[in-house]
Amino acid sequence: MHNLYLIIAIGGQRALLPAACVESVVEVTEITSVPCAPPHVRGLFALRSRVLTVIDPLPALGERRTSEHGDQAVIVHVDGHLYAMLVDDVDDVVVIDGAPAAPRALLTPGWASHTEGALELDGEPLLLIDVATIIAGPLDLAA
């Protein structure tokens, strides 16, 4: 499982998620809002008698949302809780061997703090998202 990754598209870019923490991909239809929650927490969503917390990864990455978010979300579990992370698109699951390397490009602070390096797929460098920190939201929240 260590070399399996899911290719997703968020914030206009393609990126990778470790397949090990992805449960499934769903359409998030009805979101119940959570008043007083930080903006990256979109609300709650019920799936087959389980309550998931819907997370928008863009604020953490420092990207601005240009359009209304779509319905697609990737279900991940972190620390015993289930989250639905909103994504623009979901592609394939691929095998990429080797450890993530430091990306050669200069990343914005948002991307830098929430990714764990880059892996190369057919010559295209893809950043590996750090799911746990994305769930926690933008860094200045934690301060």
Binding site: A37, L44, V51, T53
Partner: protein, 821 residues
């Protein structure tokens, strides 16, 4: 390699050792309790046998797992116990302490096995040597027999040592045995497996509810319904059974107490007698673990700070041994764990002084606090009044942490202190973690749930005895004379209001502090499956979890303490003082004891009325009640009596009325059932607003509302004529507006409305016409003209704007009165 070699893989060994450590831990804890109990009743043979078996088992496991140190220690203990069994030795304090110390060492080593730590083995010998009998001063029998390295045989020892050497008494209580001997058939399960089962059953309950909804909506044959009922029953039973797997007896919480009390009291040189009650009450295992530390802390505090030393107790005229009573009982959907001591109580004054000194509280505020609030200061972090911080309880890990831990599991902690008499600390914990009875409310179009254990009562703004107000820029409410801060849920959560916040949910926090949460609507009481929310959601501070009710939309459970904090009420000194110096109650005391009739009203509330006002109590049929013009009348003995009620509908075919007479007039008040007649010195907290309730007082600790007879008579009577005598008002029937809009208004003012001149029989008492219409020729009835526009230019001078409600009502009343004059 021979076939007889046992080859344990490393993995196997780890598993076995892990199991051994876990089992040993369990066993040793129970063992300590048994040994202490045995010490107090050394003739209890059966108990001694049990203890021996425990130790024997431990020794056996040690041998099998090739753990020589442990084996040696347990073997030594076993020998001593064997001696006691065969009466070669009598258990005395020294022996018991020695055995307990060996047990401790075994536990220590077992833990070290797991953690890989090193424990020096130098002291093993000392411990084992201590197991040997002490040489008695006067009679010296053979002190020989100590040959082998440290293993006490005692076979030659005939030394008789008195069981309780004088001067060292731990008092021998005459009370019942401390805890039942417990060896149950058990298995050990990983908690995750149980959680999966619980989650599965919770989901099953939700699926069943959804099926119920669909069956309700569609057409179902009775066979389907029967099958569904069976399924529901099975699920309910399974849910109960699974819930019980999570439950354990509180005994496991109490098991460690005797040993701890013994040690702490010995260390502090105090004598404490411990009583334990209700060990067979059951609680969620996880809850038990979370209460363990707070309970330990509370008990230690009680011994350390509460119970006086021997001298102090003698001076106070108390028995030499302090009494500590720990009990558990179930009360509704809560478990109450109480720790009661008969020590010196909590000194509120001293706490307040200390708080001022430490700068936690300004001096003026401290002066304004009631004694209860001062005692509550014990929960302030950083406050400890121990004259010297003892190692045991004064580490600054104070009552604030205890309270936080209790609140974390949805529990409450209450303090009741009597100076010089003692302290009672009550921990209230919800009965299970997962399925919680809750109230659903909504504000701003969003629905939320509040755990029922946190709710004191629900009142409507505008209801009797509820008076809103402002104090120092903050909203407050007076409910039956008591002032509470008001927190707007919509404001705290930043919700866009959809409607008026017309309901107040009075919630209570740990320590009894209360406030009123203003919400828009109150919905239902439901049992909800509550699961913990994700950390980012919990970080908001105002939520306690998430739940998925029947309609499958996720709902948040509110954390009332968190909301109070976010709203800034109750925790800062100012609000504390506000609550404390409550408005003096306005009292209208009626002195003297009079018989009061207590009854249950139609809405289920217990109310009362002085018996002297009630002439008779009668049973009636609901069918003999008639409603006309908004008034209820009771057909009784061929007459129509005005009847009043609290407003709740009459659902039974039969009900009861209190017939009341004020000398001339009579009326009936509808109730559900009479409860009792009790002598009461009526002393009411009167309502602020006149209404059917005169006020409220406590009778036998129950709040009872008293009916205001004056108000009843003023409402019930009032000279309203029977319908046949209603004045007739003729309305021109020319347009729909007259029929739809005007006619009901006129009828409501007490008239019979007719539209046809002929039908009026020429005898109309009042005629209402549109301005400009021709007047009727017959009769001399007064005419009221209504003009369509508010502007009166061009209209008759005495006309009335048709929408001038006040003017219209005044005219109607005037003519009505004139007619009856």
């Amino acid at each position: 390699m021979t076939p007889n070699d046992y080859m344990f893989g490393k993995g196997d060994m780890d598993d076995l050792l892990g199991e051994f450590v876990a089992e040993t831990r369990d066993t040793l804890e129970a063992l300590s309790g048994e040994i202490v109990a045995w010490e107090k009743a050394p003739d209890d043979r059966a108990r001694l046998d049990e203890i021996f078996r425990f130790v024997h088992t431990v020794k056996g496991s040690c041998g099998f797992l090739n753990l020589p140190r442990l084996e040696r220690l347990s073997h030594a203990a076993e020998d001593v116990l064997a001696d006691c069994r065969s009466d070669r030795r009598r258990p005395d304090t020294a022996l018991v302490s020695a055995v307990l110390n060996v047990i401790d060492r075994i536990a220590e080593l077992a833990d070290a096995l797991e953690s890989g730590a090193e424990v020096a083995d130098v002291d093993d010998d000392v411990l084992i040597a201590a197991l040997r009998p002490a040489v008695p001063p006067a009679t010296s029998s053979a002190a020989a027999g100590e040959t082998s390295a440290g293993l006490a045989t005692g076979a030659d020892d005939r030394a008789e040592v008195a069981p309780f050497p004088p001067g060292e008494a731990l008092p021998r209580p005459t009370a019942a045995p401390l805890q039942p001997r417990s060896v149950a058939r058990t298995i050990r399960l990983p908690v995750d497996l149980l959680d999966r089962m619980m989650a599965g059953v919770s989901d099953m309950v939700l699926a069943r509810n959804e099926l119920a909804r669909r069956l309700r909506d569609g057409e179902t044959e009775s066979a389907t319904e029967v099958a569904f009922e069976r399924l529901s029953t099975c699920i309910a039973e399974m849910r109960d059974a699974i819930t019980r797997t999570r439950m354990a007896r509180v005994e496991t919480l109490f098991a460690a107490l005797p040993r701890m009390v013994r040690d702490v009291s010995a260390e502090l040189g105090k004598q404490v007698q411990l009583e334990i009650d209700g060990g067979d009450v059951e609680l969620d295992r996880e809850m038990i673990e979370m209460i363990r530390d707070p309970l330990t802390h509370i008990v230690r505090n009680a011994i350390d700070h509460g119970i006086e030393d021997a001298e102090g107790r003698v001076r106070a005229g108390k028995p030499l041994a302090g009494r500590l009573h720990v009990s558990a009982r179930q009360a509704g959907n809560q478990i109450l764990i109480e720790v009661i001591d008969d020590g010196r109580g909590i000194d509120g004054e001293q706490l307040a002084e200390k708080a001022v000194m430490l700068g936690l509280l300004p001096a003026e505020k401290a002066a304004g606090l009631s004694l209860d609030r001062k005692i509550d200061l014990i929960f302030e972090p950083g406050l400890t009044t121990a004259r010297h911080v003892t190692a045991i309880s004064g580490r600054g890990v104070g009552m604030d942490v205890v309270r936080a831990n209790v609140e974390k599991i949805g529990g409450l902690i209450e303090l009741d202190s009597r100076p010089g008499l003692g302290v009672r600390i009550t921990l209230r914990v919800p009965l299970t973690l997962t399925i919680i009875p809750a109230l659903t409310i909504s504000s701003g179009g969003e629905h939320f749930a509040i755990p029922r254990s946190a709710i004191d009562e629900i009142v409507r703004i505008g209801g009797q005895a509820v008076r809103m107000g402002r104090l120092g820029g903050a909203d407050i409410v007076h409910i039956r004379g008591q002032r509470l801060p008001v927190v707007s849920l919509g404001a705290v959560l930043g919700l866009a209001p959809r409607a008026d916040q017309a309901n107040l949910v009075v919630v209570k926090l740990s320590g009894g502090a209360r406030y009123a949460l203003a919400v828009e609507a109150v919905h239902d009481h439901e049992e909800l499956v509550v699961k913990p929310a994700a950390p980012v959601v919990m970080a908001c501070g105002v939520y306690g979890g998430t739940t998925l009710p029947d309609n499958s939309r996720p709902m948040l459970l509110l954390d009332v303490a968190g909301i109070a904090e976010r709203a800034g009420v109750l925790r800062d000194g100012a609000a504390v003082v506000e609550l404390a110096s409550e408005e003096p109650e306005e009292e209208a005391p009626d002195s003297g004891v009079v018989p009061v009739l207590l009854f249950r009203d139609l809405d289920g509330v217990q109310r009362g009325i002085p018996l002297a006002l009630v002439e008779r109590i009668e049973d009636c049929f609901a069918s003999s009640v008639s409603n006309s013009a908004g008034r209820m009348r009771l057909n009784m003995d061929g007459r129509l009596l005005p009847m009043l009620s609290c407003g709740a509908p009459i659902v039974e075919t039969k009900f009861r009325v209190l017939r009341m007479r004020d000398g001339a007039e009579e009326l009936a008040y509808a109730i559900d059932v009479v409860i009792d007649i009790v002598p009461v010195a009526i002393d009411l907290q009167t309502s602020a607003v006149p209404g059917p309730i005169a006020g409220v007082m406590l009778i036998d600790d129950q709040p009872v509302e008293f009916i205001d007879a004056f108000w009843l008579f003023s409402q019930g009577l009032g000279g309203e004529p029977v319908p046949e005598e209603r004045p007739v008002c003729l309305l021109s029937d020319d347009d729909p507006w007259t029929r739809q809009v005007l006619a009901p208004l006129v009828e409501g003012a007490g008239y019979n409305v007719v539209f046809d001149r002929e039908a009026a029989g020429g005898k109309a008492d009042l005629i209402i016409l549109p301005d400009g219409a021709p007047a009727p020729v017959t009769g001399d009835a007064p005419i009221l003209k209504l003009r369509p526009l508010a502007d009166d230019r061009g209209a008759s001078p005495d006309s009335l704007w048709r929408y001038d409600r006040v003017g219209l009502a005044a005219q109607l009343r005037r003519h009505w009165n004139r007619r009856s004059a």
